[in-house]
């Protein structure tokens, strides 16, 4: 067992530039972004979003992750306690131009979206051998 105890974090709502026409809330998903020598990986926490509800777009160097969730509760149910909300997710990132756009892959497991953005060949670090002259 890990010693650390998990905590619930207050979710942030997306600050929009324009006004929304739909009466729904959009949240900022928590993310991990890490980089290895060949790819940048983005993992986003989006509980309640089915595989078909995810939209990923990359345009003009901006990566957009969107998740639409289906409302889980039936209409005949009365709420007794409500600690999380069923809202949608949206987050945007500025990416470096070194991403190979054709090879982006995304998977969704247990409410966590993993997007692997491979780097272009020329952007990968290269070891330069020094030859004896």
């Amino acid at each position: 067992m890990t010693d650390k105890e998990l905590q619930v974090k207050q979710r942030q709502e997306v600050r929009q530039t324009g006004e929304s026409t739909k009466p729904e809330r959009q949240y900022v998903p928590a993310v991990d972004i890490f980089e290895s020598s060949d790819a940048v990986t983005v993992r986003a926490e989006m509980p309640g979003v089915p595989k078909g509800g995810v939209r990923i777009g990359l345009e003009e160097g901006t990566l957009t992750i969107e998740g639409a969730r289906a409302d889980a509760a039936g209409s005949a149910e009365t709420f007794l306690l409500r600690e999380f909300e069923t809202g949608h997710y949206l987050r945007r990132f500025t990416m470096a131009e070194t991403i190979d756009q054709d090879k982006i892959e995304a998977t969704m497991t247990n409410g966590i979206l993993t997007v692997v953005l491979p780097k272009r060949e020329q952007a990968k670090p290269r070891q330069i051998e020094v030859k004896a002259g």
Binding site: M1, T2, D3, K4, E5, L6, Q7, V8, K9, Q10, R25, A30, V31, D32, I33, F34, E35, S36, S37, T41, R43, E45, M46, P47, G48, V49, P50, K51, R69, A72, A73, G74, A76, E77, T78, F79, L80, L81, R82, E83, F84, E85, M108, T109, N110, G111, I112
Partner: protein, 153 residues
């Protein structure tokens, strides 16, 4: 109005007095109406966040637990207390990776709740879909609403 008992002290939070006020305010909102439009609040940061609802036959407990595999979740019901335990292991901890952002935390959790009614512990079902754990607890026969016909004397 639904009767709910979540009046146990919150052991893990020193802010239990605020927690009590929050619950009272929520109860007030439920009476006034439009409760569902108010933003939900996490209870003192105790993981996982829960939504509890009921209909005539079942009590539904939904927990937001993304990234936790069904095999890493433990659930037990004893009398009127339900305990959810688990651990998030899916942490990338490779030395070769350089992190730009690290917001998803790993660790273990355990939460005990008092159920609003007696349930049939042998018929409890749980499933985990897209990071949301849904537990369906059928109400015990004696707490289900019963219609009583008034006889003409």
């Amino acid at each position: 109005m639904a009767i709910i008992r979540f009046d146990r002290p919150v052991f893990r939070s020193p802010m239990s007095e605020f927690e009590r006020m929050r619950r009272d305010m929520n109860a007030l909102m439920r009476v006034v109406g439009g409760y569902e439009d108010f933003p939900a609040l996490p209870a003192g940061g105790v993981y996982p966040a829960l939504n509890i609802s009921e209909d005539t036959d079942n009590v539904y407990v939904r927990a937001e637990a993304p990234g936790i595999a069904a095999t890493d979740l433990q659930l037990s019901v004893e009398g009127e207390t339900m305990v959810i335990k688990g651990e998030r292991k899916a942490c990338a901890a490779d030395e070769k990776l350089s992190f730009h952002r690290r917001e998803i935390e790993c660790g273990s959790f355990s939460r005990a709740i008092t159920l609003p009614t007696r349930v049939r512990t042998d018929k409890v079902q749980a499933k985990s879909v897209d990071g949301i754990l849904t537990i369906t607890l059928p109400k015990a026969e004696e707490v289900k609403p019963k219609k009583i016909t008034v006889n003409v004397g």
